[in-house]
Symmetry: C2
DNA sequence: TATATATTTGGTAATATAGCCAAATATATG
DNA sequence: CATATATTTGGCTATATTACCAAATATATA
């Protein structure tokens, strides 16, 4: 495998890895319903502010979410909604063990 | 979040996490082209036999691949091809930074 | 300006992951 | 049966991840 192919694989794996944590996946699915500020996500997730903030930073670095600071709050939105269509596939994996 | 919702999230995150490693993602994309034995994957990946075997075990536990032992060889196949359709989305994330 | 609120950053400890080697297991073949 | 090949498992070390706390930063408001 050449360097270019390898770096594409690496980049894709990075996105998938970002989604591969229960808290981050939860956040992504919550953001699918609309913009949320960090404080809302903290309440929903039930973890420390710093923990949620770090998960959000990681998602942002992976290119999955974007942030928008307005006043003293930071609002996060899902940058790549196509990810959600994939969830049906993942769900199929865990429910029936296969998909089309 | 209730226990049931939590365990669904956990299961989905497990699948995504399994895909979130360059070597495993490479294996999945290779299996998308057809069945491969471990020895072929070892050559393609260029890592130790035991390393590849462990990645395959992890993918199997996540429900992504299945194995079939024939003779002294073990052949792996992709169990959930719908995962591949998702790759276009992931690729969009890393190339253009957004998707529809 | 002082203070409260929202968020991020730094530090740290516990746990998980990845990769290699060596050993074990299974199957085929001489 | 002995040996070679294919694969997995166990053990180990290095590295990465996660979560919390405390401190720093930024912004709003009294």
């Amino acid at each position: 495998m050449d360097d270019r192919a390898q770096s594409i694989i690496d980049a894709k794996a990075k996105v998938l890895k970002a989604l591969g944590h229960p808290t981050r996946l939860f956040i992504v699915e919550e953001l699918a319903r609309g913009e949320r500020c960090v404080c809302e996500l903290v309440k929903l997730v039930g973890a420390d502010f710093s923990t949620v903030s770090k998960h959000l930073t990681l998602l942002k670095n992976a290119g999955v979410v974007q942030d928008d600071k307005r006043g003293q709050m930071v609002y996060y939105t899902l940058k790549v909604p196509c990810i959600l269509r994939f969830m049906d596939c993942i769900e199929a994996v865990i429910v029936s063990g296969s998909c089309k």
